[in-house]
């Protein structure tokens, strides 16, 4: 029998419908794979009993020829999504053993459609990070290794190379999907947290348009930037996932009241005549020739599929990352004010209530989260608000205007590299200067600032044998075009699978 963990989500869906295997069998195979892969630290909570119960219910439905679009498909859920009765921590010590008495809208829609939950996935604490190194549960390991590296392998002998980060903040989601520890995963993206880890692990990730997925029940980081989306093995898998995750929710005032298309129908659709913008500002000084070559390859593939390539300018690109590091920490400092040791999570006693707050928050938040809260507090404080926050929001208007003008001129989507490099080693970046780590998101963060949809699709390997991704950015609420274009890249580049399951 084929290894059920190597199937794509849509292959598994079709296999379940054809009764080639049962939901219990595919859940069992994934539970075993998760248990053997603890060295990757992708899951912070495994819920095998819950999964088997859901799978049995799915089998009963499938036997009657019933079931939703995701019936019996085992998924991983980022620990930022509140799951009713199941511990949710945002991978922060400050949430402790928080057990939500409610379900996030997005995860609830997955269960509505029949999906099975294998457990909660690791992420950077409060989704603040680009390497999954800030999690209170420790680093996630990327299943990919550099060429010639045998790190993590069983047996004796000399160890070559070190473990790589899976990217962040959705590092557990990306690592689990790449390693076959779930068929697909939920993720969230505030500055690149879906697309950058997808690019680092040879998986596909889409951040939909702001407002496409409800934010209700997702631990908030920066409310005007946060969006949920899937990470999957293929473009088609992401299309199927997003259809279930998306949709209007009256409980989120920023949720868009628009019909959700059947995204799978857009996969394989012709891209002939589409106008693809190539923004010159994404060609950075000192950019790796490998990234430049990958970008040119992507251009050639889309051209061969009949798309028209047009050079465009997005003049404010350079200012997106600095503006982000004002807007995002400002919103975070406000959102994270709720962790005060009163209503949930950790509490340290103090002489008075202020000391209780200060000690609780000092111990409960990690270093990166504290830095961002303090930056946010500073830029919002009296006398600095206009100089920092207001100016950053004006710059944001200009960033969005750049895209608006390109789309108004007839551009259907923009093609860029997804990241400035492949995955790097654990501990290699950002220890001396936090900005070094922030630069990872230089190609993705503009998309959040403008609220647009963006997809990262694996497109090649670098000289170390590590996956690299391309990013496509679409018009607001036009995720369908991204799925059509993404499939063209996937067809041309092929899929990128981890060679050896060295972790167990």
């Amino acid at each position: 029998m084929t290894d059920l963990t190597s199937l794509t989500l849509t292959e598994a869906r079709d296999g379940l419908k054809a009764k080639t295997f049962s939901a219990t069998e595919i859940a069992t195979a994934h539970i075993a794979a998760v248990e053997k892969a603890r060295a990757l630290n992708a899951y912070v909570l495994e819920t095998p009993e819950h999964a088997l119960k859901q799978a049995a219910a799915s089998d009963a439905k499938l036997a009657k020829g019933e079931g939703g679009p995701l019936e019996g498909l085992p998924l991983g859920i980022k620990d930022l999504f509140a799951t009713q009765g199941i511990r949710t921590t945002a991978c922060s010590k400050i949430l402790g053993n928080f057990v939500p008495p409610y379900e996030s809208t997005v995860s609830g829609q997955l269960w509505r459609d029949g999906a099975v939950m294998l457990g909660k996935l690791n992420n950077d604490e409060f989704a603040m990070g680009s390497s999954n190194e800030t999690s209170a549960f420790g680093n996630v390991v990327n299943p990919w290794r550099r060429k010639g590296s045998n790190v993590g392998a069983a047996g004796t002998g000399s160890v070559e190379g070190n473990h790589l980060v899976p990217g962040g903040s959705s590092g557990g989601s990306a690592s689990a999907v790449a390693a076959g520890l779930c068929l697909a995963a939920t993720a969230t993206d505030t500055g690149g947290s879906i697309r950058q880890p997808a690019a680092f692990t040879g998986t596909v990730g889409i951040k939909p348009t702001y407002g496409r997925c409800s934010r209700w029940g997702i631990v908030a980081f920066a409310s005007s930037l946060d969006q949920a989306g899937p990470i999957g093995k293929t473009v088609r898998d992401c299309a199927v996932m997003l259809r279930s995750m998306a949709g209007h929710d009256p409980k989120d005032t920023t949720s868009a009241n628009l019909p959700v298309p059947d995204y799978e129908k857009a996969v394989g659709r012709s891209v002939k005549g589409m106008k693809i913008g190539i923004p010159r500002e994404y060609r950075l000084d000192g950019m790796s020739p490998e990234i430049e070559a990958l970008w040119q390859q992507g251009i050639a593939w889309l051209k061969a599929a009949g798309a028209e390539i047009i050079d465009i300018s997005l003049p404010h690109t350079k200012y997106a990352l600095p503006a982000y590091y004002i807007v995002a920490p400002a919103e975070a400092s406000s959102n994270l004010a709720r962790y005060d040791g009163v209503r949930y999570g950790l509490r340290h006693q103090g002489r008075d209530i202020v000391e209780m707050y200060e000690k609780t928050r000092a111990d409960g938040f990690g270093a990166e989260v504290k830095r961002r809260i303090m930056i946010g507090t500073y830029v919002l404080s009296a006398g600095y608000y206009d100089a920092y926050y207001l100016r950053a929001q004006k710059v944001r208007t200009l960033i969005k205007r750049d895209f608006d003008e390109a789309y108004a001129a007839g551009i259907d989507a923009v093609l860029t590299p997804a990241t400035p490099s492949a995955a790097f080693g654990i501990g290699e970046k950002g220890s001396a200067d936090p900005v070094e780590m922030y630069l990872n998101d230089i190609f993705t963060v503009t998309v959040n600032m403008a609220g647009l949809p963006g997809i990262a699709v694996p497109a090649g390997l670098d000289s170390q044998g590590l996956p690299l991704g391309l990013q496509l950015v679409g018009r607001p609420f036009d995720e369908e075009t991204l799925f059509s274009l993404g499939q063209v890249i996937e067809d041309a580049a092929g899929r990128f699978k981890v060679g050896e399951r060295w972790w167990g």
Partner: protein, 95 residues
């Protein structure tokens, strides 16, 4: 702009995060690195530009002013570190 030690201390207090004296200089360095990075926004001419308030044009939704939820005090306090009779317990605030 860069922050001095006194400002770091003041901001930590505003953010309700206890920072030991010994950690202040390192934090000051990190905050100044970030503030140095965002400094480049001063190059942008923002005259006459409206600050962004909503990334997608959207009218604020309204709903009937009616009770839609409630009577779940026990679930609301279920995760509290200290509670009694469905009240959150905190150190004495008023003398």
């Amino acid at each position: 702009m860069s922050v001095d030690l006194a400002t770091v201390k003041r901001v930590a207090h505003l953010a309700r995060i206890a920072v030991p004296e010994a950690d202040l200089p390192k934090l000051q360095g990190e905050l100044n690195a970030i503030l140095g990075f965002v400094e480049q926004l001063n190059e942008v001419d923002v005259t006459g530009i409206e600050p962004m308030t909503s990334v997608t044009p959207m009218a604020m939704k309204q709903r009937e002013d009616v009770v839609t939820d409630g009577e779940i005090a026990d679930r609301i306090v279920a995760n509290a570190p200290a509670s009694e009779d469905n009240y959150f317990m905190v150190p004495k605030v008023i003398e």
